[in-house]
C-alpha cells in the first residue's frame, strides 16, 4: 500500500511518515499544497493523508482538484479546525474521513486501515483468502492459523494482493503501489519478492498470468 502525506509542519510530517512506514506502508510526503496536489494527480496512491491548512494551495482546493480530475483514492483529512461546518466542507469537497488535531498516530493508522479496506470492498479488518489470513490491525500474516514472518516489503506486497483477491495485478501496478517515489523501481525485484513470498507461504495462492501479472486466488480444492 502506498500513501501520500501532505502536511506542512515538518515535525508532524516526519512523525507521520515514520509511523506509517513502520506500519508497512510505502509513504511519499509533501510539505505544501502545490507539491501535494501534483503528487496526488500523478501517482497512484492507495490513500492520502491531507492537512487542510496548507501553504500555497489550501487543502480543500487540493482535494477538490483531485476529485475533479477523477482521482478516487480515499482521503483522510487532517485539521485543527474542528467545527462541523469545516467538516461538512471537507466531506463535500470529497474527503472520506476526518481526524482533528491533536491526534494519536494510532488513530490515524486505524482510520487508514478502514479507508483502504473499504476502498477495496472489504468489510472486515481480517482479509482472508483460503487458508491465508492477513490481520491488517496487527500486520500479521497467518497460514492455516500459523503466523509467518515477513519483511516489510513482503508484507506490503502480501497486503496489496490480499486487498485485491481475484484481480489480475500487473507488475507496474505493484511497483507503483508498493514503493515510494524515491525507491529505485525495478520491476524485476517484484519477481524476486513474489518468489520469496511463495516460498514463505508454502502454498500456491499467488499465480502468475504470463504477460499480464499476478493474481491471488484460493487454492483449487483437491480434485480427487
Amino acid at each position: 500500500m502506498r500513501l501520500l502525506v501532505v502536511e506542512d509542519d515538518k515535525d508532524l510530517n516526519r512523525q507521520l511518515v515514520k509511523a506509517l512506514s513502520q506500519a508497512g506502508y510505502a509513504v511519499d510526503s509533501a510539505l505544501d499544497g502545490e507539491e501535494g496536489q501534483f503528487l496526488g494527480e500523478t501517482e497512484p496512491y492507495d490513500a492520502v493523508i491531507l492537512d487542510l491548512g496548507l501553504p500555497k494551495i489550501d487543502g480543500v482546493k487540493v482535494l477538490e482538484s483531485w476529485r475533479e480530475a477523477g482521482r478516487v483514492m480515499p482521503v483522510l483529512v487532517l485539521t485543527a479546525r474542528d467545527a462541523w461546518s469545516d467538516k461538512v466542507k471537507s466531506f463535500d469537497a470529497g474527503a472520506d474521513d476526518y481526524v482533528t488535531k491533536p491526534f494519536h498516530i494510532e488513530e490515524i493508522l486505524a482510520r487508514l486501515r478502514a479507508l483502504v479496506r473499504r476502498a477495496s470492498g472489504h468489510a472486515s479488518s481480517d482479509l482472508v483468502c483460503g487458508p491465508v489470513r492477513v490481520d491488517t490491525r496487527s500486520g500479521r500474516v497467518l497460514v492455516d492459523g500459523e503466523a509467518i514472518r515477513l519483511t516489510s516489503h513482503e508484507y506490503r506486497l502480501m497486503s496489496y494482493l490480499m486487498h485485491h483477491v481475484g484481480r489480475i495485478i500487473s507488475r507496474t501496478e505493484l511497483v507503483e503501489h508498493l514503493y515510494d517515489q524515491d525507491f529505485d523501481r525495478d520491476s524485476n525485484t517484484i519477481e524476486v519478492f513474489v518468489g520469496r513470498l511463495r516460498k514463505k507461504l508454502g502454498i500456491d495462492v499467488i499465480k502468475t498470468i504470463r504477460g499480464l501479472g499476478y493474481v491471488l486466488e484460493p487454492p483449487a480444492p483437491p480434485s480427487a
Partner: protein, 461 residues
C-alpha cells in the same frame, strides 16, 4: 392602558400631528376671540352712532328751544319711541335745578332711565357716555347719554336707549359664521397635516421597514435611495453591519488560526513520546492531553462568544441539514446507519450557518454515536410569544437513551466553568450554550423506541 402610555414612546408622526393640531387650534381660537371682540366693538360703535343721531337731534331741538318739538311724542320720527316698553327710549333731564325735571318718551311708560354717571361709566369728551343698563322691562339696553350746557347756563342730560338685543343678534350671527369657517379651516389644516406627516415621514418608515427586514434576516443591507438628511443614517447602519460582520469573521479566523497554531505542535508532542515509556514521556503525555482538552474547550467557548450579537443573517435549514447528512453517512459508513430527515419546507434559521451546523452537527453526531440503525432529524416551524417565529429540531436515535437524571447534567456540564473537567462529551453542552446565545433552548427527552430525543428550539425567520 393609560399606565402603558408614555410620551417618549409616542411616534414621530403622532408628535408632529398632535403638535401641529394643537398649535393651529390655539392660533385659530385666539384669532377668533380677537376677531369677535373687534366685531363687537365695531357693532357697538355703529349702534352708538345711530343713537348719537337722536341725541344730536334732541340737542338741536333743545337749542332752538323748540320745546314742543322736543316733547312731541313723535318728534324723533321713530315710532318705536311711542310704543310702550319697545326697548327704545329717550329721556331729558334738566340739571342744575333744585329738583331735576325729567321728560321722557312715551315708550318709557313712566319709568326712568338711570344715569350712567352713577353707574361709574367713564365719560369721554368730558360729556358723553355709553354703556349697558337693564331697562324698565328687564331688558338689556344700550344707553347713550350726553350732558349739554347752553350759553345761558341751562344744562340738560340727554339719554337715548336702544334695544341691546340688536347688537347681540348681529354679533351672534357673525360669531356663528366665524366659528363655522374657523372649524372648517381647522379641519382642512388637520387633513393637510396628516398628509404632510405621512409624506414627510415616508423615508423614515421605509428605513424602519428596511431595518426590521435586516433584523428578521430577510435582508442583509439597508437598500434603496433616501433623502439627503437621512441617507447618512442608512449609510452608517450599513457600515455598522459591515463592521459587525467583519469583526465576527476576523474573530473566527483568529480562533481558527489559534487552533491551528496550538494543535499542530501538540500533535507533534503527543506523537513524539507515543513510543516511549519513560517518566518524562509519561509526564508529557499526561500534560499534552490536558492541554489538548483545555485548548478544545476554550476554543469552543471563544467561538461561541465571537458569535453573540450577530444581526441580519439568515440560514436556509434544508441545505445545512443535507450537508450534515452527507457528512455523517460518510463518517459512520461502517455502522450502516440510515439518517432520515423530515423538514417543513422553506425553514430559515435566524443566525449564522456555521452555528446552525455546529449545533445540529453535535446533536446528530451524538445520535449517530449511540444509534443502532437509525437517526431521525425533524424540523418544523412554530410561532411563539409575541409572534416570534421559531424552528424546533427533533433529533432522535434508536440507541440506549439517557436516564432523566443524567440529561440535565449532560446539558449543564459546560455552565459551571470551574467545576468542569474539560474533555469529551461536551458536545451537548456546547449546543445548549450556543442555543442560549440565540435565545433558544435544548431539551432532552426519550424517543418512542427508547433512544435519546433532543429538542432544539431556535429563532426562525
Amino acid at each position: 392602558m393609560m399606565s402603558r402610555f408614555s410620551l417618549s414612546r409616542l411616534s414621530i408622526g403622532s408628535r408632529l400631528f398632535i403638535s401641529a393640531i394643537l398649535c393651529s387650534l390655539i392660533i385659530l381660537f385666539g384669532a377668533g376671540l380677537v376677531l369677535s371682540t373687534i366685531y363687537r366693538r365695531a357693532s357697538e360703535r355703529a349702534f352708538d352712532e345711530r343713537l348719537q343721531v337722536y341725541v344730536q337731534s334732541v340737542a338741536a331741538n333743545l337749542a332752538s328751544k323748540n320745546v314742543s318739538n322736543v316733547f312731541d311724542p313723535y318728534g324723533l320720527g321713530d315710532p318705536r319711541f311711542t310704543l310702550p316698553l319697545s326697548g327704545w327710549y329717550w329721556q331729558i333731564r334738566t340739571e342744575g335745578l333744585a329738583k331735576p325735571e325729567v321728560t321722557s318718551s312715551i315708550s318709557l311708560f313712566g319709568g326712568r332711565l338711570p344715569k350712567l354717571e352713577t353707574l361709574n361709566v367713564p365719560a369721554h369728551d368730558g360729556t358723553a357716555r355709553e354703556g349697558y343698563i337693564i331697562g324698565p322691562d328687564e331688558r338689556r339696553l344700550r344707553l347713550v347719554e350726553r350732558a349739554i350746557e347752553f350759553p345761558d347756563g341751562s344744562r340738560f342730560l340727554v339719554q337715548i336707549a336702544g334695544n341691546a338685543d340688536e347688537i347681540e343678534l348681529t354679533i351672534q350671527s357673525f360669531g356663528k359664521a366665524l366659528w363655522t369657517s374657523f372649524g372648517l379651516l381647522a379641519l382642512a389644516l388637520g387633513v393637510t397635516t396628516i398628509f404632510q406627516v405621512r409624506f414627510g415621514l415616508l423615508p423614515l418608515s421605509r428605513l424602519s421597514n428596511e431595518i426590521s427586514a435586516i433584523r428578521r434576516g430577510s435582508s442583509d443591507h439597508v437598500s434603496g435611495k433616501f433623502p439627503d438628511d437621512i441617507s447618512p443614517v442608512a449609510d452608517e447602519i450599513n457600515l455598522l453591519l459591515d463592521v459587525n460582520r467583519d469583526i465576527l469573521a476576523r474573530a473566527r479566523t483568529q480562533v481558527g488560526n489559534l487552533a491551528h497554531a496550538l494543535k499542530t505542535p501538540l500533535s507533534v508532542l503527543i506523537n513524539e513520546v507515543s513510543d516511549e515509556d519513560t517518566p518524562i514521556a509519561n509526564k508529557v503525555r499526561e500534560q499534552t492531553s490536558l492541554m489538548r482538552d483545555q485548548v478544545n474547550w476554550h476554543l469552543d467557548r471563544a467561538r461561541a462568544a465571537a458569535r453573540a450579537g450577530v444581526i441580519g443573517v439568515a440560514t436556509d435549514i434544508a441545505p445545512a441539514v443535507a450537508g450534515l447528512e452527507r457528512t455523517f453517512l460518510k463518517i459512520y459508513t461502517d455502522k450502516n446507519l440510515t439518517i432520515e430527515s423530515i423538514l417543513a419546507p422553506d425553514l430559515k434559521f435566524r443566525g449564522e450557518k456555521q452555528d446552525l451546523e455546529e449545533m445540529l452537527g453535535n446533536l446528530v453526531d451524538n445520535a449517530c454515536k449511540w444509534a443502532r440503525r437509525q437517526v431521525v432529524i425533524k424540523a418544523s416551524a412554530f410561532t411563539g410569544a409575541n409572534d416570534h417565529p421559531f424552528v424546533v429540531f427533533d433529533v432522535s436515535d434508536d440507541g440506549p437513551g439517557l436516564p432523566p437524571e443524567k440529561r440535565t447534567e449532560v446539558i449543564k456540564r459546560g455552565e459551571r466553568l470551574d467545576e468542569t473537567v474539560p474533555g469529551t462529551g461536551l458536545g451537548l453542552s456546547i449546543v445548549a450554550d450556543l442555543a442560549k446565545l440565540y435565545g433558544g433552548e435544548l431539551t432532552l427527552d426519550s424517543a418512542e423506541n427508547g433512544g435519546l430525543r433532543a429538542l432544539l428550539r431556535l429563532p426562525a425567520v
